[in-house]
Symmetry: C2
Subunit: 398 residues, 2 copies
């Protein structure tokens, strides 16, 4: 599945890009006056192989959630239970990502790829989640000591079986596709086996296919996982060669001693595993996370379907580095939503050659930065659909 996905990713269509540039020159505005929006619309024409490219509607946010063995090293001040509790908040519509998604008319799909604690089934959860047998009634499956070979089938369909409402912006949706109940501690051993990393990547590809099959015109990356900026920093250092000090940030907010410790943890992990950036699955397994691997799969799946994928923050761009290592042409499907306050995000964006659309010091994750950038992407494409030419409007040129 991964190989066929990678093989389906093609370079941009130069003819469609040229057509978009030519059309921009005829629209009723000074040449170049829309700045980065013009180049963005040209890229999206190249991705779609059409000018104008389709409007990126409807939008679908996919939030991949996982936990991290490295949490035991004290890299985050938040208890690990918050990952699962926030899934409840997402499904109840109470998180920032929900507020922004409602505003943008985007659907929210929450995918448990590796949450350590039982998912909430109480009053904050969505009824669909509460009726999900995997989430509510399989305590053995939630046992962190469960045999690791008993991997859930990553191709299992959405247990709620609500294909018709996959893109319903009013109802956040839960997909349970847990590979394992959190990664191992990357300071001690590889975070994942190669098979586990592959299972998470394939889950991401499957979610991309499902959302695009349901009609999504653009995918937005989201993530949730207490401690997940530590593996993100390790991935960024591994793929870009950056020093861990430059790739590591303060995540959701840590003090100076914790920050110094976090940098040391990332540095030690890189020394221990010596990940090979030409082997992206190996890098994801050694120092990554299940949500990072799944996001890499989502990006690859979108690229294979010539569908744009709007990247959120540091977790997304660390996954994007893995996707680009799998398939360099996948970068053509990526749009950088915003510049996260995490320094590693800027390192990764530079490596990918992407300019972010928004720079507001956000460091929340969840998909919030991507959602804020979505109207910019839609607007860039809309110009090619709706703006009159000098000829048609009877406006003189200079």
């Amino acid at each position: 599945m991964l190989e066929t996905t990678i093989a389906a990713i093609r370079p941009a269509d130069e003819g469609a890009m040229a057509a978009a540039r030519e059309l921009h020159g005829r629209l009723t505005k000074p040449a170049g006056s829309l700045g980065l929006l013009e180049e963005l619309s040209v890229r999206l024409a190249g991705l779609a192989g059409a000018c104008p490219p389709p409007l990126p509607e409807p939008a679908a946010v996919a939030i991949f959630a996982g936990d991290h063995g490295v949490h035991a090293q004290g890299v985050s001040p938040w208890p690990q239970e918050v990952t699962g509790q926030m899934i409840g908040n997402f499904l109840a519509g109470g998180a920032v990502v929900n507020a922004f998604a409602r505003q943008a008319g985007a659907s929210v799909t929450v995918v448990d790829v590796g949450v350590a604690t039982p998912l909430p089934t109480g009053p904050v959860a969505d009824p669909a989640a509460a009726s999900d047998p995997a989430a509510a009634s399989d305590p053995a499956g939630l046992d962190p000591a469960a045999p690791e070979s008993a991997l859930p089938d990553p191709t299992r369909p959405d247990p709620a079986g609500r294909d018709a409402t996959v893109l319903d912006p009013a109802v956040p949706r839960l997909v349970v596709a847990s590979v394992r109940r959190g990664t191992r501690d990357l300071t001690v051993t590889a975070a994942l086996t190669r098979d586990e990393a592959l299972a998470a990547v394939q889950t991401g590809i499957r979610i991309a296919d499902e959302l695009i099959d349901a009609g999504a015109g653009i995918l937005l990356t989201g993530d949730m996982g207490i401690g997940n900026t530590t593996p993100a920093a390790a991935l960024i250092a591994a793929f870009t060669g950056a020093d861990p000090l430059d790739a590591t940030g303060r995540g959701t907010g840590i003090d100076d001693p914790t920050y110094a410790h976090k940098v040391a943890v990332v540095r030690a992990a890189l020394v221990r595993h010596a990940p090979d950036p030409t082997d992206p699955l190996g890098v994801l397994a050694a120092v990554g996370g299940l949500e990072h691997a799944a996001l890499a799969g989502l990006i690859l799946g979108a690229a294979a379907r010539r569908t744009p994928v709007l990247l959120d923050g540091v977790i997304a761009v660390s996954a994007a580095l893995a996707a680009a290592a799998f398939a360099p042409a996948a970068v053509g499907a990526m749009v950088a939503g915003h510049r996260s306050a995490e320094p590693g995000a800027t390192v990764a964006l530079r490596h990918l050659g992407l300019d972010p659309l928004i720079d507001l010091g956000l460091r929340l994750g969840e998909g919030t930065g991507a959602l804020l950038a979505l109207p910019v992407v839609t607007g860039a494409v809309r110009v090619l659909h709706e703006v009159a030419t000098f000829d048609s409007a009877g406006v003189a040129e200079k």
Copy 2:
């Protein structure tokens, strides 16, 4: 009218700002993780005097259009007729501002405060505009040699008389409130008399009142006027003390010799008129434009009604400097939509102490940059309305 408007502008409500900061600390997100959006929402709480402040809906774009005597100096490669032709494009819905306004659900009001050429009445124009007697059937009124004392009444109501559709996002609307058919050449004489500048300011105040009376929750500045970046540069230099070289940009696209000439024109105008920055009406009259003066009025009118005004590019921020000179507390109502590619915009924003929300190299005007930033403003406020608290969502804190 100007004096009562200025007198109505009050400082921010510190209590509402403190309440918004306190609420941010209880919402299910790490403290500060929404970056500049948090401070923006706090400012809007202070403006409204309420926490949460009202959602900034519906949005209304006001595009003030005028022409410029300095055009005769060769500061723009575009013919002056384009100003009036673009009004036709706006009313037909074919411009970039229309595409972005449709996407955002914002209404578009086009205000002729001083277009030099007859407004279009052909097939590209909106029926309401074609039936506007002032626009279609008063050739004497369009005579640039008409007596200057025959100023139109700036308080004349919208000739189309469509109060019920003032905020209809589907129908761009024309208001004719022409003070004179373009300014005088500021390299030769004052661009406007004080009375003319005042009439334009009062038109802006009236439009703000009309839109807010119709229910607008936020006003967006727009502008159209071939040559209008030259008076904008002069205003910015006059109000901030910046050198004309730093305040002047390439507008819609000029070559090096034209740019050098434009800087010299701005420098000569400042030497000739020696405008006093503590006399904003005098500055607007000496080196401004009718759309700049009207935008200053719109901003003052919004501030007096404690309604946010989202600034577009360099024309808007040059007008914002005038508004701040009239009433320093008016800055509390201003939100900087984007950082224009024009260097003078950055000079002005720094002087006003405003951080722009979007920075994409736009230099189109019309209100396009403000419209792209609108979802960020709405999102910032929406967080205070819709996001769950740690307590209510059952999420643990760090």
